[in-house]
């Protein structure tokens, strides 16, 4: 429960949410997937297109195979003749930008949309083109290489790390009812092919296609859709680290620690205990970095639905974590949740949102 003296620090209200079911290959086009979640989010918020003042979209041209993702989404998010801010980062960072815009008083209600289709090209190969073109691209490294190096750094002095990570992956996949990859045993994880040692295929969250939309609103405008049961965003934090690997940054998500501290300060969180915690971790070793950085303690439960191991898509992960936090908190009184997003190699970008109910 949120202590009484820490309540009512709402920055914005969450008015509606929607997401597609993540699949390995969604036969729909990007505009069709995005339109589906936008219409569903509007319906969830009992709002119409005319109620939305502005749009923030998250997409990455490289992943979309487009010279500009605006080609695909600007019309279906209803942004024609409206302000659209587009960011090339995780969808939760788009939500944070929307919070900034509402807090600045620029807009009352903002639609936040993220989409990603890993089925369009070999995802990890594609990430090689998101690396520095002078020092890294010619080597052929990609985000998976960096994840492997990060895991290797963490396992250097920890002989039990790999078996522990296999157990974590199996646990998450078991909790992921309806997940796109299904349950897996620890033995099968350990027998799965090495993809970037010490990481094995069974330790990686499955990446497919998905879209997600969240509608945020100013909590002070007397919106007809706002009620006591609405979930509010009370804290936001955002941090970007260096692109080139630094030894310290690899074994410690210091950027996430800074981001979470900013969010906790805004939300008035003095002790990080949450009713629900949803990290965006594609690999088990990232969960350990996450738990350490946000300070929830190693025994605190998180990822009740299996987290990203249930299946995720590029760019949507963090926004879909917010959606899950909002849905878990809705209708409960005085509870608090934490959603996390990350992007870039080895967790270069980090974003945290603290949500709560009055």
């Amino acid at each position: 429960m949120v202590p009484p003296d820490e309540r009512s620090r709402a920055l914005v209200s969450v008015l509606g949410t929607a997401e597609t079911k993540v699949t390995f290959e969604d036969p729909r086009s990007i505009p069709e997937m995005v339109l589906a979640v936008v219409e569903a989010a509007l319906e969830d918020a009992a709002l119409g297109w005319h109620d939305i003042d502005a749009v923030v979209t998250a997409s990455v041209d490289l992943f979309d195979g487009l010279t500009a993702s605006s080609i695909a989404v600007t019309e279906v998010v209803g942004a024609v003749m409206k302000p659209e801010t587009r960011i090339a980062a995780d969808g939760l960072a788009a939500a944070v930008h929307a919070v900034h815009q509402i807090m600045a008083g620029a807009y009352r209600r903002i639609l936040v949309v993220a989409h990603g289709k890993a089925s369009m090209a070999p995802y990890w190969d594609l990430t090689a083109w998101a690396m520095d073109p002078i020092f890294l691209q010619p080597l052929g490294v990609n985000f998976l290489t960096f994840a492997g190096l990060q895991a290797a750094m963490l396992a250097r002095h920890d002989p039990h790390a790999v078996s522990r990570w296999a157990t974590t992956a199996a646990l998450r996949r078991s909790a992921a009812t309806g997940g796109i990859a299904g349950p897996i045993s620890v033995d099968r994880v350990m027998a799965s092919p090495v993809v970037a040692s010490p990481l094995r295929a069974g330790m990686c969250a499955p990446v497919g296609d998905g879209a997600c939309a969240v509608i945020l609103g100013d909590p002070n405008i007397g919106d007809r859709n706002l009620g006591e049961e609405d979930v509010r965003i009370a804290g936001i934090g955002h941090d970007v680290g260096p692109h080139h690997l630094m030894i310290g940054e690899l074994t410690d998500w210091a950027g996430l620690r800074r981001a979470s501290q900013r969010a906790y300060t805004l939300a008035g969180v003095t002790k990080p205990t949450f009713a629900i915690v949803e990290p965006s971790c594609l690999f088990p070793h990232e969960e350990e970095l996450f738990v350490e950085a946000v300070g929830i303690g190693t025994t605190a439960p998180h990822s009740p639905g299996g987290g990203l191991f249930a299946g995720t898509a590029p760019v949507i992960s963090g926004l879909s974590r917010l959606l899950r936090v909002v849905r878990a908190l809705k209708g409960r009184t005085g509870e608090r949740g934490l959603a996390h997003g990350t992007w870039g190699p080895a967790g270069q970008g980090q974003v945290v949102v603290v949500a709560e109910t009055p």
Binding site: I134, F135, P138, L139, F146, P198, I247
Partner: protein, 145 residues
């Protein structure tokens, strides 16, 4: 219906003043340069025009390596073995390919004994073109060749 396509787009990247000096040193002299910050003394390798610690503008380049310490490595089947290497004289690690061991005189990628903390040395390409791949990769030194 899925339409197949391929994106082909030639592109020109400016390596910048510091990056160019680094690449020219690789090509011409088989030397690896790092950028030394005159404010905090951090040596960043590969060099960048700003300090990786204090963000000050950096113009002083110093030679680092070619030997170093293997901090971590990862094997990506089908793509290669990559290491995080702290070159002697540098404060930040370089990512590069790990080629294997020389025992004696021939590269043996199958016999890699890559304990973190192992000593490695850069192997330069015979035909160098002014790219990071002018370092072909790093060879793991063996205590008992």
């Amino acid at each position: 219906m899925i339409l197949e396509s391929t994106i082909r787009l030639p592109f020109s990247y400016a390596a910048g003043t510091v990056g160019s000096r680094f690449l020219i040193a690789l090509r011409e002299d088989q030397k690896i340069l790092g950028a030394r910050c005159t404010s905090c003394s951090t040596v960043t390798a590969p060099p960048r025009p700003f300090c990786s610690s204090c963000s000050r503008t950096v113009t002083e380049l110093v030679e680092v390596g070619p030997d170093g310490t293997l901090e971590a490595w990862t094997n990506q089947p089908g793509n290669g073995v990559f290491g995080l290497i702290l070159l002697d004289g540098a404060d930040t690690p370089i990512v590069h390919r790990i080629l294997g061991t020389i025992n004696p005189g021939t590269v043996n990628a199958e016999a890699i004994n890559m304990t973190p903390g192992a000593r490695v040395t850069a192997m330069f390409a015979k035909d160098r073109t002014g790219r990071i791949t002018d370092i072909e990769g790093f060879i793991v030194e063996q205590d008992d060749p």
